[in-house]
């Protein structure tokens, strides 16, 4: 098992180096630069433009800029945002808990509903439940997030007034950030109603962000279950006279979970992409929205630092999923 883990870790090194190149190159490939955007309609004289580029170090050859970036990176320095002048790592860490909180809630919702729905649809194949749930999954999968979010806001916050429109907690509550996770901090604050307010604010964004992963997980679970249910060992288990529940819940489900766990792991990337839109529409102060703003401002250090950190998180999650995979399916460890 240790060799398996070490082998996986070793793979990460070249991947991470590749990511540094992509993260560094990405913003620089985009046309326009931060100085021009800052100057706006007013324009800027060539002399002043040159002066500002020099001041920011962007007059250097690109390879030297990359090596500087790499050198500072190994000292744990991601640089300062060109816009806010704050350290990129600090900004990321300030905003990241909000994204993680939302992503965890979304993936939990997607898993807790998606897997049972998939199993049920597979077991009752062709039933009205199968038809409706898989139809709904298809719609959910193809729903434009922005439109879906706005629709929910108009219905639940506007017309029915059940949920707040946006933000993480009512503005009435104001307490210090301890963990950055609003659900925990609101409990720690001891203020009456703070936790309830935080939960209420989480509902709609969680639903919106969970929609696509939920659809994917449900469909994946259904098809994996159908495949496994046709296997000989399932028939044998049934022939042995094992209770139906045990056959489905243990023999079939455990084997069907292998591709499903992989799918859930892959959804982390999808969640990050979905977070950008979800956070924008729900004014959720997370890294998705921050990345979009940084890209529009061509804030090179923020974009490259942010991309790198997000990639690191996704890689870490995938590593964990790989390890879990090994746990579920012992054969994989030896491959």
């Amino acid at each position: 098992m240790i060799r398996f883990i070490l082998g996986k870790l070793l793979y990460l090194v070249p991947t991470f180096l590749g990511v540094t190149i992509v993260a560094f190159g990405f913003v620089r490939v985009l046309p326009g630069d931060p100085v021009l955007l800052m100057a706006g309609e007013r324009g800027i004289s060539p002399e002043r433009y040159q002066q500002l580029l020099e001041q920011l170090g962007y007059d250097q050859p690109i390879w030297r800029q990359y090596l500087d970036f790499l050198g500072r990176l190994f000292q744990g320095d991601l640089g300062e945002s060109l816009v806010t002048k704050s350290p990129v790592l600090h900004e990321f860490l300030t905003l990241f808990p909000a994204t993680v909180e939302l992503a965890i809630c979304a993936i939990l919702l997607a898993t807790l509903i998606g897997i049972p729905a998939g199993v049920l649809a597979a077991v009752k194949r062709g039933s009205w439940f199968d038809q409706i749930s898989m139809g709904a999954a298809l719609i959910g999968y193809s729903m434009p997030i922005f439109w879906w979010g706005l629709l929910l806001i108009i219905l639940f916050s506007g017309i029915l007034a059940w949920t707040p429109v946006s933000g993480r907690i009512s503005l009435l509550y104001y307490f210090p950030e301890v963990t950055g996770f609003m659900l925990i901090d609101s409990l720690l604050s001891g203020q009456d109603g703070a936790f309830g307010s935080a939960v209420a604010h989480l509902i709609l964004p969680t639903i919106v962000l969970a929609t696509i992963p939920l659809a994917v997980i449900a469909r994946q679970t259904r098809s994996a279950m159908l495949e496994v249910m046709g296997e000989d060992y399932v028939r044998t288990a049934r022939a042995k006279g094992l209770p139906w529940r045990r056959v489905v819940g243990v023999h079939a489900l455990r084997n069907a979970m292998i591709p499903v766990v992989t799918t859930i792991g892959l959804q982390i990337g999808v969640l990050m992409a979905g977070a950008i839109l979800t956070e924008t529409i729900f004014s959720w102060p997370g890294i998705g929205k921050w990345m979009v703003d940084s890209i529009f401002r061509r804030d090179y250090p923020a974009v490259q630092g942010g991309l790198l950190l997000i990639a690191a998180v996704v890689m870490a999650v995938n590593l964990i999923v790989d390890l879990l995979y090994g746990l579920i399916n012992p054969r994989i460890r030896h491959v």
């Binding site: 300062e80 002048k85 429109v165 993480r168 950030e177 929205k289 061509r298």
Partner: protein, 530 residues
């Protein structure tokens, strides 16, 4: 400061607000501020959150107008030659007492000198107090070469010596970059080795004092209990950052905020129909235009430019693109600006005459590029659609148009080039309400290769602008600008397209809000009905 002390601080402030019923105004702002030191930035969103609530300037814009009135300076004198401005500071003004700073003295000349020297003098330790900082507004208003030095006459008197007479100087001092900072606070930050906090924990003299900022989410202010211009009707001011205009409106309708900027044009009718909301509107201090490159044939011929202008159906653009939220522009400055020349006649929309004029000018089978900006701006909701309408109009007079667009930064750069081809759609929003800020920046010879996208250098026009700039009497200046507008119309370096309308929806409970023609959003004097 720790988060706990921030909390204690805000708790203390809330208690000070007497009783449990603190009056709070929530503003659904459109974006995050870049920082809280206004000088290094140029974005209105940043100024709304920093310079407007927290700081004051020597002189201020009178609310709802572009008139310059006393601010931290009670009065001032200008020398005969226009080279010396002497300001008499208001006595008894104090900076905010916050958890991170307690002032020991009142505002004095040192604060004023510090506020400008840090932007002007590269050797000043505060010039580069954090990496990569620069003072683009100060630079682009040419303040560096304009101010020769700043002299402390006594504690409450400060004198600016200028290198040349410059009439818009006073209006420049009312701009956000000229906000007055506390030298004492800066000294304290320097001594404690945390200079960068000047941009995170602002201390000013303004109507509201900064309490806390949760990045990309909420900014909290409390009313300044010792404000020199009177106590605020509300206790707390909160900015709830909400980037999407449709979501802002939902929040406003749900009562999660009481006032918001920049509604989507498509929502205007729904807002008008909502009995709980009030919609304030005002002509924006802006212009949308299409600039020909007057250095490249055939656009070097004014007759060709005028002919093309006559081929554009501007009302159709107002109806289709601005959806009625704008008016046709005939001058390069908006009608709300002093010196606007209403006697100027706009070129009529007359395709037949336009075609004839083009023939007379010897232009046939003309193919040209029209540049459409890739972004929405306050003066232009949809440049691509505008370009398409112009393309149709020009086709009617036999001119073939290819629409081009680039990424925004690149668009701005390429459109500045003197050898650029075709006509560029762009616009401008006024900085300080002075006509020079439009006519001088966008159309004088000095702007060629930069903000003057028509690359138009007309000596007669530029002479008038320069003369107006050094004339101190406003009536005299207005007359010179009026003449300049006549020349502009004859020479037609631009097709002037539109002046857009700015909207501000708010709850019916909001009282005393005044829209700024300069587009800033400020909340001093605003109250909420119970």
């Amino acid at each position: 400061m720790t988060t706990y002390s921030k909390l204690l601080m805000s708790a203390a402030l809330c208690l000070a607000a007497v009783g449990a019923e603190a009056k709070t105004l929530v503003y659904c702002s459109e974006g995050s501020p870049e920082g809280f030191d206004p000088a290094p930035y140029t974005a209105g969103t940043t100024f709304d959150a920093s310079s407007r609530p927290v700081y004051n300037r020597l002189v201020e814009f009178e609310k709802g107008t572009t008139n310059v009135i006393p601010g931290l300076a009670e009065s001032w004198e200008v020398s005969e030659d226009g080279l010396q401005y002497t300001f008499h500071l208001r006595p008894g003004v104090t900076f905010h007492t916050t958890e991170w700073f307690t002032p020991t003295r009142e505002l004095n000349a040192d604060d004023v000198i510090f506020s400008f020297e840090r932007q002007r003098d590269e050797a000043n330790p505060w010039h580069q107090y954090t990496a990569g900082i620069s003072y683009e507004y100060f630079n682009s208003m040419d303040m560096g070469s304009l101010i020769e030095n700043i002299e402390k006459v006594d504690d409450l008197t400060v004198r600016f010596h200028l290198t040349r007479p410059e009439a818009p100087f006073l209006a420049n001092l009312a701009m956000d970059f000229a906000s007055i900072m506390s030298k004492e606070y800066a000294d304290q930050l320097e001594a404690e080795g945390r200079m960068a906090d000047l941009n995170q924990q602002p201390v000013g003299t303004g109507p509201f004092q900064f309490v806390a900022y949760q990045q990309d989410a909420v900014i909290r202010y409390h009313s300044n209990p010792t404000y020199w211009n009177g106590q605020q009707p509300i206790d707390d001011l909160v900015f709830a950052i909400t980037t999407d205009p449709a979501v802002r409106l939902q929040k406003l309708q749900a009562g999660e905020c009481q006032i918001m900027p920049y509604p989507a044009p498509a929502d205007i009718e729904a807002i008008r129909a909502d009995g709980n909301l009030t919609l304030m509107e005002q002509p924006g201090l802006n212009v949308a235009y299409m600039a020909y490159n007057t250095q490249m044939p055939p656009f070097d011929n004014p007759q060709v430019r005028r002919a093309l202008n006559m081929a554009i159906n501007k009302q159709a653009i107002i109806d289709a693109v601005f959806q009625g939220t704008g008016e046709v522009a005939k001058n390069p400055i908006p009608p709300t600006m002093w010196s606007y020349n209403d006697e100027v006649q706009d070129d009529p929309y007359d395709p037949d005459a336009a075609r004839k004029m083009l023939e007379e000018a010897g232009v046939s089978d003309l193919s040209m590029k029209v540049w459409a900006m890739p972004v929405q701006r306050p003066y232009m909701p949809n440049a691509r659609r505008t370009a398409e309408l112009i393309q149709e109009d020009f086709a009617k007079v036999g001119v073939d148009v290819e629409i081009v667009s680039y990424e925004w930064g690149e668009y701005l750069e390429r459109s500045s080039a003197t050898d650029r081809d075709g006509a560029v759609i762009l616009g401008w929003t006024g900085d300080n309400g002075d006509p020079d800020n439009f006519l001088g920046v966008l159309l004088s010879c000095a702007g060629v290769g930069e903000a003057n996208r028509a690359q138009w250098c007309n000596e007669e026009f530029t002479d008038l602008i320069n003369q107006a700039k050094t004339t101190s009497d406003q009536d005299g200046r207005a007359e010179l600008y009026r003449q300049a507008q006549v020349i502009f119309k004859q020479e037609a370096p631009w097709a002037t397209i539109a002046h857009s309308t700015v909207f501000m929806p708010m709850s019916n409970k909001v009282q005393g809000y005044i829209m700024s023609p300069l587009g800033s959003h400020q909340f001093d004097g605003v109250d909420i009905a119970e």
